[in-house]
């Protein structure tokens, strides 16, 4: 807003000179000219496919024969089909594991690492960040081994006498979704912690000194100084991890395939399954578009709330 009014004032001033009215117009168009190549690229590979997906979503199409126009019927089905509703609920549960939990843990971890002035901080930062570097498919394969009935998690539980807790984690109707979600927690925690550490390192140490002089302890310091200072980073972390949670595909595809029964189905997996396995391309596009709108919506709220509290 500020920049656009400045531009207008600028144009007004030049209008006084006013002998060549074409100049400001050209001036205003030139930036768009520079934008054009990038925009054309973006349009060809992002906007056109999205528009095409929107178009597909109002057709019933098997990918082979001529599609039939069905209006919004696919979208109605997205909200009424119990299987799809279940998938969206699972995605919301995953937000807790991918976003809420890592941010809560990450805040504590980052605060401890920051305040404790740990020796070898770069080392710990690297270790914590490492899960982000590994491809999700690799992570999923590894965790599938860990969760196996005779995998290392159950072995560890049995070794300490907790035999009652050992179970086939990914085949258990209650525990498979949390088990899949926890892999997400493990993977996002590094990113979140490193982001928050960066935010905390910006806080002037004078603030902490002042707080300490006023008699604040570690906990008080955290809530009074650290937390408000890293609000922006928290917003960024939430945005990134919520997107990751909602578009989870590879993790579910590799670990459970949506099972046991339907207890770990997620929308992205339904898109793949319907488009490529069941030949319901229109329906799959409708699920995809709904998911896109949901991601946009949730992140809009997160960013609105985050922005308001910083100013």
């Amino acid at each position: 807003m500020a920049s656009s009014s400045a531009l207008r004032a600028d144009a007004g001033l030049r209008g006084d000179v006013g002998r060549r009215p074409a100049a400001p117009v050209r001036r205003r168009l030139v930036p768009y000219g520079f934008l054009l190549p990038a925009f054309a690229f973006y349009a060809a590979f992002m906007l056109v496919p999205i528009a095409r997906a929107v178009q597909l979503s109002v057709y019933e199409w098997d990918g082979l024969t001529l599609g039939t126009f069905v209006g919004l019927r696919n979208y109605v089905a997205v909200f009424t089909d119990p299987a799809l509703r279940e998938a969206f609920v699972h995605a919301l549960v995953l937000i807790f594991f991918f976003s809420a939990l890592p941010v809560a843990l990450g805040l504590v971890l980052a605060a401890v690492l920051h305040r404790g002035r740990v020796r070898g901080l770069p080392f710990f930062r690297t270790v914590v960040f490492l899960p982000q570097v590994v491809a999700m498919v690799v992570v999923a394969v590894a965790w599938r081994q860990i969760y196996a009935p005779d995998g290392s998690l159950n072995q560890a539980l049995r070794a300490v006498g907790l035999d009652a807790l050992a179970r086939p984690w990914l085949g258990d109707y209650t525990w498979s979704l949390p088990a899949v979600g926890f892999v997400g927690t493990w993977a996002s925690l590094g990113l979140v912690t490193v982001l928050l550490l960066a935010g905390m390192s910006r806080v002037p140490s004078e603030l902490y000194e002042a707080a300490r002089l006023d008699g604040a302890g570690g906990v008080r310091e955290f809530f009074a100084i650290t937390l408000p200072a890293v609000r922006g980073e928290v917003t960024v972390a939430l945005t990134l991890t919520i997107i990751a949670a909602l578009k989870t595909f590879d993790l579910v595809y590799v670990t459970t395939g949506g099972g046991p029964g339907t207890s770990t189905t997620v929308p992205s997996y339904e898109v793949y399954r319907r488009a490529f396995e069941l030949g319901q391309v229109g329906m799959a596009a409708a699920v995809g578009i709904t998911l896109m709108v949901l991601i946009f919506g949730i992140n809009l709220v997160v960013n609105r709330v985050g922005d308001r509290s910083t100013t």
Partner: protein, 454 residues
């Protein structure tokens, strides 16, 4: 602010125009010329010695022995017909399944493709007129004599794709598959048991193994489909093969909610209750289960013939295979064929494509297929190796296809049946569903499809 909105409006406008300008999905694909099924008898030819062309073949024969047999056969074909060059495009089963739809509707469609038998793949292609009916070539080349009818039904559809198992022939498979019971000889010896031949004897052996503290039956069902290969053969013990075929092929006239099907499901649920399976089959990998059997944990494993090669590598002479007989002594079990080779409707060289399909499924080709460690779909009994588990598998497949009943994979039935069956069986194994509820869930899927198709 105003500027931002107008820019957005512009972007939305552009998107809307693009959306409207694009035509309905599917309308861009090439329409077949409609002469396919009315081609006169004089038009086809089995003599391609003068033809100069390139034949594009999409296959999924990528694993060791499969790749070797197709390479040898392609080479022999090019040698016999010097005018023909084969352009082979091979990819994994999963990749082929996801790309074939797009490939068939493309202007430059391949000439020969390997298409999965089920309604979701071959059935959908037939319905969309993308595959060439091969009836006339079958007459000319004698394919109806070469193959048992129980095998050919898996690549036969009515012209509109509505009926599976009757009508036009759309492809020929090279290899067979049969589901049966693998066992460890040394474990049976240890328990003092003979190799069972019937389901009753198998039940007795399972009970004895359990009593001796062994894992009677290995199952890795995290992928949800493996349990279907346990339920299928069990169903053959109770239900009439004709009914199973109708249910499996998704044709009208049968029902899931019968006492027989429920009894089959109850039999499986009983195995779970008796604790015959390894711990947590729903959380165990398919591969981990047979690897456990190979490593000496477990006595039996119900699975397909495709496991024989790996199990033999790991267990040598210790592994055996059998198909339990039903009460009247016949061998009835789930099985089928490898992916059939089909000819596309858009091919410019149908004669060459048909000659190729004939060549790679000929009696001589079966020898090469057997030599490279695959289970040939024809002449199986006579090409059996001298010993080992492969001998058991070859003989079982030979007997099932000639004097027994080869029953379709149950997930062929409807496009969604694979998921319904897998999820329901996982539920049954976890005790979340009763046998009656399982048959109702399967009936709902089957009934909806048959109702919609009829």
């Amino acid at each position: 602010m105003t500027r931002t909105t107008s820019r957005w409006r512009g972007a939305i406008g552009v998107a809307a125009v693009l959306g409207l300008a694009a035509c309905a999905p599917g309308s861009g694909s090439v329409e077949p010329d409609g002469t396919d099924d009315t081609a006169g008898a004089g038009e086809i030819s089995t003599d391609i010695s003068d033809v100069q062309t390139t034949l594009t073949v999409w296959d999924q024969e990528v694993r060791g022995g499969q790749n070797e047999q197709i390479e040898r056969l392609n080479e022999a074909f090019e040698e016999q017909y010097p005018g023909v060059t084969i352009d082979r495009v091979s990819q994994s089963f999963e990749d082929l399944a996801t790309t074939l739809r797009l490939a068939l509707t493309d202007d430059e469609a391949p000439d020969v493709v390997q298409a999965n038998n089920g309604r979701g793949t071959m059935g959908a292609f037939v319905e969309a007129d993308q595959l060439l009916p091969l009836n006339e070539y079958a007459e000319a080349y004698g394919w109806y004599e070469r193959y048992p009818a129980s095998v050919l039904q898996y690549s036969t559809y009515s012209e509109d794709g509505a009926v599976f198992g009757e009508g036009n022939l759309y492809g020929l498979p090279q290899v067979g598959e049969v589901v049966g019971v693998f066992y460890s000889r040394s474990k049976l010896d240890e328990l003092g048991l003979e190799v069972p031949t019937t389901w009753a004897e198998l039940d007795a052996a399972l009970a004895a193994a359990k009593a001796a503290g062994q894992t009677p039956l290995q199952l890795g069902n995290i992928e949800a489909w493996p349990a279907g290969h346990v339920f299928g053969p069990l169903q053959a013990e109770y239900t009439d093969p004709a009914d199973i075929t109708a249910l499996g092929l998704g044709n009208e006239g049968a029902s899931w909610t019968t006492p027989e099907n429920e009894a089959a499901a109850a039999h499986l649920a009983g195995w779970v209750e008796q604790g015959y399976f390894n711990e947590g089959p729903n959380g165990t990998d398919y591969d981990a289960a047979w690897q456990a059997l190979a490593a000496g944990d477990g006595v039996f494993l119900i699975g397909g013939s495709w496991l024989a090669a790996d199990l033999e590598d790991a267990m040598g002479e210790d592994v055996g295979f059998f198909v339990p007989a039903t009460d009247d002594g016949t061998l009835a079990t789930t099985g089928g064929t490898g992916l059939p080779f089909a000819v596309t409707a858009d091919t410019d060289v149908p004669d060459v494509a048909a000659a190729y399909v004939d060549f790679i499924t000929s009696d001589e080709a079966m020898e090469i297929i057997a030599e490279t460690g695959n289970l040939p779909v024809n002449r199986t009994g006579e090409l059996a190796p001298d010993g080992g588990v492969q001998k058991d598998v070859f003989e079982a497949f030979g007997e099932v296809t000639t004097s027994g009943a080869l029953l379709p994979y149950l997930d062929y039935a409807t496009p969604t049946m694979g998921d319904t069956l897998g999820q329901s069986l996982q539920n049954l194994i976890a005790g979340q569903m009763t046998p009656a509820e399982l048959t109702e869930a399967l009936e709902a899927d089957y009934g909806q499809f048959v109702g919609a198709a009829g």
